[in-house]
Amino acid sequence: MTIYSQISSNKQKTFLIFALFITLFTGFFYLIGLYYGDGNSYLTLGIIISLITSVGSYYFSDSLVLFSVGAVPAEKEKHFNFYTAGENMSIAAGIPMPKLYVVNDESPNAFATGRNPQHAVVCATTGLLEIMDRAELEGVIAHELSHIKNYDMLVMTVVSVLVGTISLVADWIMRSMWWGRLDDRDDDRNGGRSPFLFILLIVALVIAPLTATLIQLAISRKREYLADADAALLTRRPIGLASALEKISAFPRGMKRATTATAHLFISNPFKKGRKGDWLVNLFSTHPPIEERIRVLREM
């Protein structure tokens, strides 16, 4: 797969994700509406929410993700190596300088976000900046910039926000129905059906497969290998990224503020052993085995 086919496949994927999300999300609301005997107004509500979320996730997903992990802008004086490595990599790749952010977390990790190279953001944890030398930092940043250049980040960030929205709404519906069940126990409208079973049905039929499909679309092992190879080409030093990955995998603890929705964005899975992520995410491993990536890089 060349970079160009990768870019167009990512753009198609994003379109597909939006279509899928809007259709299923609206359908889900319609079902809820039918249950309450007011299908059409719930349908409208579903369309409005899913449209707003889709448009919003395209334009603002990067700021949302940065906000959700608590990132602050990097400064040249304070984070000299990070900042200059970012400058160097954008010179080498011939793209505008990405915005650089820092998350206060001792677990070394990094991610990129942004819908295109003009709106690129690279974010690193303070733990990463502390233990990496310049060559390793350049490797990590080059890897992230490759994701942006290939439009991987468009797909991945959009999915983050959509998955986040789904879990939020599912949570909200569950709660309101739970309380609704207590209030409306003798209501004729329910016709004796158990609302609890109905919720389970909806979750099983719509929410779970939707989330699963979205995450599956967002992750791609091939994409990680491609970005690693790109990084090697950009820095001309594959060893830098290889030893950075080694250091990251050697660190025992995971990140504090990573969530199910953002896990696949990071250069290495932010949930370490001992701290389980969501079962849904664990179904699909979000990253190829780090040992394998290091081996491939070392052989370059």
Binding site: T84, N88, I91, A92, G94, R134, L233, P238, V296, M300
Partner: protein, 184 residues
């Protein structure tokens, strides 16, 4: 025959489209090379601008190393004067060599090494050196793309027609010419 006429006209139109497309392709690539070249110039200028400050700082501690200062200053002025790509590349390499001996000399003066100003300049120079290397790498990869297009058939015919000539690579120093092969 009318149909042969149509076919001929059709082919001529296709040819014209091809010519326009590939001419524009050459122009875009050539402009990109120009931009990449000015990217190198920015970094070289930044590098040259850091030198006088560095020399002043080092002089404060190591007055007697006249030869080293002269070499650095000479290399700097030849970099400032350089016009062609080869001259620039040579002057840049010369400056790298001179700076290396300057920093080697600095090793012998612990007070100088402890000077925060010196430390900062050294850091900035190292950074600029990296940036020169990366901007050169970007320039060269653009030149490679352009040259391949100019030389490969049938683009070479169009290139000849409009006078597009292969561009010059920005030569790297010996130690930077390391081969790397990428696979995944």
């Amino acid at each position: 025959m009318i149909s042969t006429g149509f076919i001929l006209i059709g082919l001529a139109v296709l040819l014209v489209f091809y010519l326009i497309g590939s001419y524009n392709g050459f122009v875009i690539l050539r402009n990109r090379i120009q931009e990449a070249l000015s990217g190198i110039d920015v970094q070289l200028k930044r590098r040259a601008d850091l030198i006088p400050n560095l020399v002043e700082t080092v002089k404060g501690y190591a007055k007697h190393e006249k030869e080293v200062f002269e070499n650095v200053t000479k290399a700097r002025s030849s970099l400032m004067k350089a016009d062609t790509l080869t001259e620039k590349a040579d002057a840049n390499n010369q400056l790298s060599g001179a700076l290396k001996s300057l920093f080697a000399v600095a090793e012998a003066y612990p007070e100088l090494k402890a000077n925060t100003n010196f430390e900062d300049l050294q850091r900035q120079l190292e950074d600029t050196e990296d940036k020169v290397a990366y901007s050169r790498q970007f320039y060269n990869s653009n030149v490679l793309e352009f040259n391949s297009k100019v030389q490969l058939f049938p683009g070479n015919i169009v290139a000849n027609m409009f006078g597009f000539k292969i561009a010059e690579f920005f030569a790297a120093t010996e130690e930077e010419r390391k081969k790397i092969d990428v696979k995944f």
